[in-house]
Symmetry: C2
DNA sequence: CGTGTTGTTGAACTGTCTCAAGGACGGTGG
DNA sequence: CCACCGTCCTTGAGACAGTTCAACAACACG
């Protein structure tokens, strides 16, 4: 992806490139000024665990996304999990500052990526807070499709990298309920899922059931333009 | 508050100081690189409205908090609302960049405030997603108390600036349910509320009912130390 | 001291969760 | 290639938390 490429540091050896297998976990530990993670390929989840045993997927990161370990909640359990095979650049925050001094364009693209991610987090909170389960699922499908696929005629098709449990923990539902909603969505013909790949025959129809479709689309477009 | 003071720009006239009355609204409109809002006194809410008519309070801002208009969701309806009388410094983002160049300490305190706010947002999402209504309310009370009061003996007392509707829209509950939960909390003796002022006689007891109490406390301490 | 707004409470309803059983799939070893 | 296993997914029936609606109480303001 073009956007990810423009964020790649020019000097080799200035950071670490992490190649992650599916389900591989990277603990996010506070460490001085912290680290900057830049997603190059693949899909990551940001997980927190509560003392109560509850698990929450805070957000999903796509290629081009930038994650700061400093932003992580204080909970000691914040972890990045690769939902698919993924490549991530990890840089020390001081280094990113220095690179920004040298190349203001670089700093601007980092800031832009962070702003868009922040906006996406707000949309997700809103989706989870005020919408019904089915609407949240539709929002999730729209989000995933926007970041992982291109329009193909009237429809779209894309990988569903998350397990039911992951999606449930992201959407604040339980896996059983989520499964039921998937079944309803399938029987209504809006999506079909085979071997982890989702096919949406009529994109506009899906968007009509997703209250966040419009802002998510707008946001996705800004990412491509800005990056 | 000490932290807010250190964020105040040195040159006068370099930004606008907004003095807001209770319930006064400030639309957040995208505008070039955007604006930086620094809360000096009072409590603000960040509101979004959906086409569906739903309303969501995304987060609550306290003195010392920094808000970037760029981070706002793309929804055209993002608004800052003063929950109490408030004073807010508004600066153009370019200006903040320039000030950061001149005074790296200033930039660091902005970045620190943003990181802590981001962590708070994650905690709020988690609270709303996985916890019961009563736990969310306890979390909200702990958050408010931490930011608006100091320990007084074994307890704390602080202003509840938000209306029931505001709290409900923040906690993803409806006002009726929230009122019931307040009643239960009152009859259990954990809090008492008179004329918008909450009194918590036993702070530790409240914290025991709030799953987020520990991370919120940790976060609050970092704000005072860093600022 | 009305009048409008905001908060409280009850009773019925509904969406989501829980628990438990069964089914589909993917890998492994015979 | 098939039988086996574990894991993930699906589905039903019952329970429960939270919502809805409506009536009433408390409060703030002129």
């Amino acid at each position: 992806m073009q956007h990810a490429k423009s964020l790649r540091p020019t000097e080799p050896g200035s950071g670490v490139r992490l190649s992650l297998n599916r389900q591989q976990r990277v603990p996010v530990v506070p460490d001085g000024m912290g680290h900057v993670y830049i997603v190059e390929t693949g899909v990551l989840m940001v997980e927190v665990l509560l003392q109560t045993g509850h698990r929450q997927i805070l957000e999903i990161l796509y290629p081009g996304d930038v994650f700061l370990s400093r932003d992580a909640p204080i909970l000691p359990s914040t972890t990045l999990i690769a939902a698919s095979a993924a490549a991530v650049q990890r840089l020390r925050a001081e280094l990113v500052d220095a690179m920004t001094q040298a190349d203001s364009e670089f700093g601007r693209s980092i800031a832009s990526a962070l702003a868009l991610r922040s906006a996406r987090r707000s949309l997700h909170l809103t989706s989870v807070s005020v919408l019904s389960g089915e609407e949240r699922l539709a929002d999730f499908l729209v989000e995933t499709a926007l970041f992982l696929s291109k329009p193909a005629g009237r429809g779209r098709s894309f990988e569903l990298n998350l397990t039911r449990q992951d999606m449930a923990d992201y959407l604040a539902l339980n896996p059983d309920t989520l499964s039921r909603m998937f079944s309803r969505l399938k029987s209504s013909g809006l999506v079909s899922v085979t071997r982890g790949r989702a096919v949406v025959p009529d994109w506009d129809a899906l968007c009509r059931t997703s209250p966040m479709a419009a802002p998510l689309t707008e946001l996705r477009q800004r990412l491509s333009v800005t990056g």
